[in-house]
Subunit: 340 residues, 2 copies
DNA sequence: ACGGAGCCTGCATTTTTATGCAACCCTGTG
DNA sequence: CACAGGGTTGCATAAAAATGCAGGCTCCGT
């Protein structure tokens, strides 16, 4: 120290302090006062490029920090976690007060409707796996759009035999087509044919053929994810699967299905003779869809969802916060297991 | 509430929640993941314009917030306050451990040197009011630049009579010219002529004329601010002013000077016969300078500084934090007074 | 049911920002 | 002392972001 309080060796750090002051001042002008870089440059007699670099430096030095305050009822961290650990394109986790099927479906439906409205492109070919409650909820929440927004709405799984379910399937497809201003492409066959032969026969129909020819062209599809044990609707439909068939699937390790295409815990397809009776999109076809959106939530579907995500067919998952946390937890445990 | 937990009327706010989720997600992608708006748009199937608007909305809704963390030792608030209340273009407040003249001058000098280095344009004509300690400190801290960076360094106040001070004045000017690669323009006359007539005589010199002709062309000038009572150097210089003259100035309300041009508390010039003996830039000429930078700090100069800022001649003030707070406080009190 | 105000969208364009480049300067080294 | 190497800068330009505009939709009021 010199008598006047100056340090001899302090030059560098001192100069740095002055630089930081300048950086900070520029940040102030830019972010708080809303000035353009060029204006700041002019005011301070330096080039716009330098101002730009100073601002970059301000971020680097931690002088400016941008925080994202997630609005309540959003779960960015859960979404991130699921997105990255299952390699999905997008994940939407919705808030939900109780972990009950009905409430969850309603919320997921809303979110899916919003997703559809926001991201639907002109001329898309939409696939709907028509008999999921959740998808019905989605359709109920879609606002009508101008005609011709989407090109087709294609039913990707036959309506089941029983009339009430037939109605449901048809209704969902027709309604969605109407709302998106698209042409509906119904699939007037049972989702599960009585036999392999019956399936062949049904699929020979030219109407059916026409619809199926669109499967490969679907750009956006919505499916529910079903657990192994038959859903309420499936059961009501007239018990399409026999007890024995379920057992067979279980034995082969199946954990769930999308449009009645089953897969195991690891996402591997579980092929049984049942496949030869189902009339609808296959897992491979789902994989080929530009954006294959799965809608599902609920305690009993957790395993089914995890498996579905591992099939590689799902691009977007919309689920609830409870199920989302279970998925994350499951994934963590799985990894621990794998590391051992 | 419906039995499944859905609300009938909740549509709007619910949809809003989904929108906010999207906005938040976009903010995440943009700020955290560093994606381009176009990439986000592509990923989410919407236009880049929409993404831009969403991001603006994110700021508006308070989802993204950018904070500026001022580096320690910076005083943005003080600077703002002084800048706005005195209508200055820039204010630099430097950190300083003690409220002592010598330490303050050293710090201000450093800051001024940095300011000079950063903001000096090619071909500028720099004015220096050569006999302030603070300006000497500045010059000591300037790093040499390539030749021709500045065009001229003009001495804006005569060097005083006594040889040591003469040297000081010359040294400052020459050194700064050397450092900035400019041509020096010395002012080889006393700052205070013995009489009005002597002044006329001295100013007739062609060298002197030449230097003075540059006064109107100075683009950047540095002055110290002096209190009413003579500074140490002024005193040492051979007591250029008489006791009587000081009294006269005080009687006229003078509170300080820049280059021996005095003004009162309100910044109004205080003209006395002294003016006819001073050889140097006038207040009006200072006002005409593109960037007139005043360097000063210290308890005994506070009033002088406040007055100087009100002359309208000062564009940039560089001072210390102690003096800065005193200025702010003074200004606040002044306003209270005015409102009564 | 019709028509207009208000709002939102995407497109095309402008405005603003970032960056490759060449020149330059300081520094440390052979 | 010359010179390579790392780090600046400003300029020109590419890249990215913002915005005016026109068309279309929704919501009201008539």
């Amino acid at each position: 120290m010199l008598p006047d309080g100056t340090e001899r060796e302090g030059g560098v750090s001192m100069s740095r302090a002055h630089e930081l002051r300048l950086v900070s001042r520029i940040a102030q002008m830019y972010h708080k006062e809303g000035l353009r870089q060029a204006e700041i440059a002019q005011h301070l007699r330096l080039s716009q490029a330098t101002v730009s670099r100073m601002l970059k430096r301000a971020v680097h030095e931690g002088i400016v920090r941008t925080t994202i305050i997630p609005p309540p009822g959003t779960f960015g961290d859960l979404e991130d976690c699921i997105r990255s650990s299952f390699g999905l394109s997008e994940v939407i986790v919705v808030d939900c007060t109780e972990d009950r099927e009905a409430a969850i479906m309603a919320r997921i439906g809303e979110a899916a409707a919003h997703f559809l409205e926001v991201t639907l492109q002109d001329g898309e070919i939409i696939g709907v796996s028509s008999w999921s409650q959740t998808i019905l909820r989605m359709v109920e929440n879609v606002h009508p759009m101008r005609v011709g927004r989407a090109a087709y709405v294609v039913q990707t799984l036959g309506g089941l035999g029983a009339p009430n379910v037939q109605d449901h399937a048809t209704h969902v497809t027709m309604r969605l087509a109407q709302l998106t201003g698209a042409q509906p492409r119904l699939f007037s066959v049972p989702g599960v044919a009585p036999s392999r032969e019956a399936r062949e026969l049904l699929m020979a129909d030219s109407f059916v053929q026409e619809t199926m020819s669109l499967f490969g062209k679907v750009t956006l599809s919505f499916v529910g994810i079903g657990p192994l044990s038959p859903s309420e609707m499936l059961a009501r439909s007239g018990n399409a699967f026999s007890e024995a068939e379920i057992d067979q699937l279980a034995g082969a390790g199946a954990v769930g299905n999308m449009s009645l295409r089953f897969y195991d815990q690891k996402g591997q397809p579980v092929r049984t003779r049942l496949d030869d009776r189902v009339i609808g999109m296959t897992l491979d076809e789902m994989r080929g869809v530009g954006r294959h959106v799965a809608l599902a939530g609920g305690r009993n579907k957790t395993e089914a969802i995890a498996g579905a995500l591992r099939t590689g067919a799902v691009d977007v998952l919309i689920t609830d916060k409870f199920t989302a946390s279970r998925l994350v937890q499951m994934q963590v445990q799985g990894q621990e297991h794998a590391t051992l």
